[in-house]
Subunit: 237 residues, 6 copies
Amino acid sequence: MSGVVVTGCPRADLTDVDRLAGYGVATVHEAIGRAGYLGAHLRPILDGLRIGGTAVTVLCQPGDNLMIHVAVEQCRAGDLLVVTTTSPSTDGMFGELLATAVQARGVRGLVIDAGVRDVADLRRMRFPVWSRAISAQGTVKATAGAVNVPVVIGGQVVRPGDAVLADDDGVVCVARGQIEAALEASAARAAGEVEGRAAFAAGQLSLDRYDLRPRLTELGIRYVGAEDAGRDEGAGG
Amino acid sequence: MSGVVVTGCPRADLTDVDRLAGYGVATVHEAIGRAGYLGAHLRPILDGLRIGGTAVTVLCQPGDNLMIHVAVEQCRAGDLLVVTTTSPSTDGMFGELLATAVQARGVRGLVIDAGVRDVADLRRMRFPVWSRAISAQGTVKATAGAVNVPVVIGGQVVRPGDAVLADDDGVVCVARGQIEAALEASAARAAGEVEGRAAFAAGQLSLDRYDLRPRLTELGIRYVGAEDAGRDEGAGG
Amino acid sequence: MSGVVVTGCPRADLTDVDRLAGYGVATVHEAIGRAGYLGAHLRPILDGLRIGGTAVTVLCQPGDNLMIHVAVEQCRAGDLLVVTTTSPSTDGMFGELLATAVQARGVRGLVIDAGVRDVADLRRMRFPVWSRAISAQGTVKATAGAVNVPVVIGGQVVRPGDAVLADDDGVVCVARGQIEAALEASAARAAGEVEGRAAFAAGQLSLDRYDLRPRLTELGIRYVGAEDAGRDEGAGG
Amino acid sequence: MSGVVVTGCPRADLTDVDRLAGYGVATVHEAIGRAGYLGAHLRPILDGLRIGGTAVTVLCQPGDNLMIHVAVEQCRAGDLLVVTTTSPSTDGMFGELLATAVQARGVRGLVIDAGVRDVADLRRMRFPVWSRAISAQGTVKATAGAVNVPVVIGGQVVRPGDAVLADDDGVVCVARGQIEAALEASAARAAGEVEGRAAFAAGQLSLDRYDLRPRLTELGIRYVGAEDAGRDEGAGG
Amino acid sequence: MSGVVVTGCPRADLTDVDRLAGYGVATVHEAIGRAGYLGAHLRPILDGLRIGGTAVTVLCQPGDNLMIHVAVEQCRAGDLLVVTTTSPSTDGMFGELLATAVQARGVRGLVIDAGVRDVADLRRMRFPVWSRAISAQGTVKATAGAVNVPVVIGGQVVRPGDAVLADDDGVVCVARGQIEAALEASAARAAGEVEGRAAFAAGQLSLDRYDLRPRLTELGIRYVGAEDAGRDEGAGG
Amino acid sequence: MSGVVVTGCPRADLTDVDRLAGYGVATVHEAIGRAGYLGAHLRPILDGLRIGGTAVTVLCQPGDNLMIHVAVEQCRAGDLLVVTTTSPSTDGMFGELLATAVQARGVRGLVIDAGVRDVADLRRMRFPVWSRAISAQGTVKATAGAVNVPVVIGGQVVRPGDAVLADDDGVVCVARGQIEAALEASAARAAGEVEGRAAFAAGQLSLDRYDLRPRLTELGIRYVGAEDAGRDEGAGG
């Protein structure tokens, strides 16, 4: 699919995306069945952010950011750029000038499975970025790639128009057709978490709250006093 | 040793642990003979913390946090959870609800050779964590492991009740039976550092302070003027 | 070249180094032809710093910081210590006492392709460090290495007296003989960036500003409407 | 999609798959537009194999091979097992007994983004395996996963029934609907390679054969005699 | 414990060690409760070996093989050298001359969590080695370490005199006091494998042989025909 | 230095290079002061090779092998291609057709800090390759780089015309001007190894042969009987 720019992609509804983002990445990821997480290697350049947007996807040759320049034209308010490369790279493919350009179009942030640079400027602009690396290493603008085709990051497919949510825990993608279900499941999960939080703060054990003790019996877990545990057992780990 | 929960483990004396923590991880690690350091891959989620506690150890299957839930019941005030997995994992095995539960029991923090999540919440709660990764990736509660058996992190054995100290430099473990010796050696070392700091600030060279010049001679180190050093030597490194 | 300490090395002019540092690492790296970047693995211990200095280079055995002690004596105001090891290491080879010693001599900071420790103290002192790791793991003072010989970090040669610049994007080295050219090229590039920034903020596309559309045609890039793009294409990435 | 076993999946035509495998992984990967390669981390346990088959996909919890046992029943002659885990693992999830079981059903081999064991036996049986690791570390049979759902390895989607080809260069996946096109493109490419091989053996330069010299001019590449190239240039890389 | 050489360590009985080695690493590792495996990063330099021996343990500073030289004197017939370093290293710490020396004393092989060199010679001598790396990088003989103290590799403790077994699947350690139990459990497991192998070759499913179908029901695993499975589900993995 | 092809580079004398190669990589690396080793990550695609040649160096953009095609024209009999990229890559940049082309010109082999492909063919041709990876992932021919400029691999500078030697232990580079010295030092070292080998085979200890016992005393190494060593010491490593 190299050499293609798909235009006019339908987007997830922004109001829905924003409501979903409010639940946080970990809660949404659990609510949709422990799915869609893009991996622990994507870290934010600023702490304390929590954003959502609709994906404009970009597939680049490593060391070449031509297709990001192409993608800018396809962005509109509420979008979030999602960039990956055809083989692994940490080069700094995106910096302050590109951030200025996309911010002017209402783009909410960047998720990139490669490097960014000018991070001091990006932090000053409070432009949200989740990346695999920070690197001053520059790139060329020479090779074809694709815009708005499905891409894969951390083993998860991101399609143009999907909801992409990001906070201090990383990035999760929710397929456009599953947002309503995700909203319901997240609301239910968040409600349960409110109650659980109160119970745990009051001293209830999760062993009891989640009724895990029968499972322990089933697994044959034995409780042994320290005085009987023996001193010479090897170390596991 | 899978399937065992050891109860009623003796702990190191908390007053001693707190005094030891005050010296800092690097100083204690040096004082006990450059030992007990759990590795550079464990990083804090907050800067500027310095804590100590008595280890409650947890051995989990990767992708499964059942035994952390089991461990909560074994925790008391002054403890510090030390969690590892039977093979490497970065999954987010611990989050805000578990932190709420253990904070209610007086647990001082978490050292985990795997991932944590809900880090925005954990930072808000100022709950101290040193981990290998931050990851929203969720886990199951399905498989037996062990609580309060010796575990190994970064090639170091941590036994239940041992003193575990952590700050911006990482985590060090001091065996329960060696704390007194560690306190003495750390005090001596810290005293030496006070004097050294003053001397270095005043311009003394460590070559002289540590009497290293005879060692340089012994090693055959030569001083050569730049004009004689030649321009065309290959690069080392 | 082990066992050599080169003395009296000529340094790049400090006024020039400071002017160059002002342009930032990414801009200078681009201006000198996308060269001299020491790699994305070197990260600062403090955000928001931007410094430059003249290199005093140190080559150590892993786990042994003897030659850093030797190097201190060779440092003068405006220098920046650049340390590497003969094989990879993350041990904490440099801490607060050494920082105190070199700060007393006017050294501006440390670039180390290994670990540092006492980072809480180093941050308090605002001593600038770029390192591969933070680690309390201590080192010995036993083995010969070299001071002020060419060293290699991230595949780049750093020679004593070269200009070394560092900020949030990492570290770049500019050879002593190329600083004038680097200043000119950086000034030109920075001027262009000022205009570009204004144009992008006003909504101009980089496709147009850099005249990239003919290149897209040449590469055979096709624009396809989403309705024609097909739903079942495999995922790239 | 955890907890699902999809039965009766349509498969790519085996005659086509075998013809495609004959071209080799690198040629097919190039012919389909440099796509479908599962990554350099998957290595064969035997050299000199070249096989193809239709994918039966398996998604497991790390450290748990229950779903491979479930998948065996879904296999038939000509299939190739394609196994991945929900988060990274090197555990030995597959050994001689499972190989005996699937060989009895006509399965042609295994591609696993995790570990295998009993490799001495597997080599004796000449059972083809491409894996991320060799590891004796055993696994449990405790947790739900999925069989014959789309899985992702090395950023590429593998769907049940797709053609999977493997040789000493690694593994490539061709979607069921694209095999005819892949056969045509591979045949064309292989024909070109025959001619190219003869020409290169006879001394023709690829610069001339592929008409690359105008591109060099366009890129501004200069030829400089060694005597003019200067001795003191810094090292790139 | 640096600076200590423990002499006259009791060894596991060699006849027992040899019988245990005969079962293979994977079988013994399973039989002793999925324990003792030293990790997938240790690979043999020759295929098809299967050996066992009694551990002589060595703890070295990275880049320094002094303590291996010290250890040679402590070796006797039937021993196996087990070497690790105080922090990670891939340097070539052991080569043909050391192999000649230990072979003259009846040492059966080497397990090293670092690098080896002269591998062409070692292969010619058929000297068995499992290592983390092959590297010509030489080392010094300068720093104290320890011989015959407990060491940790891959999170497993190896004590002097323990049985260490190695084959194409890697290396496993069995504590001296657990060898009798390991022999019994391995014999039972191997017997079961013989029967299982025959049953699987004859076409029995492991789902039936291990009675896993009730577990599938319990886990809620559903079987769905491909025609009902939907075409548009996202990719897991 | 991008965009430059240096022609007519002087080469090391081939007779000398061949004599040097005969000593083996590890011996030469030691003889020249433990220098010039290109790193443990470069592995041969065939065991048992030992070759030397004169370097033709190539610097490529990752994912782009244009400059290898340019380099072919600069090769002559006795040369060895040494290829690296401006940032890390494992893509398969070199395959059977390029091997055919360079073999026709008398090139002896390839050292590449990236990937190769068509390895089954390369093995059949017995074309020697040392690489970082084996990967079918293809590359483009689009971007400028350089030929016959100094490059850096594994922290070592390789200059055009330098002697590059490779065997099962990896790759070492000897600067053109240092070959005579390297020959002398290697001969001396090899002679010493012959005597050492005989002595060690006859049972002499290296502790005695290298006179290491005084060093042990100096380091304070203590010998302790196992019965006095205590059973409960923590595990190092």
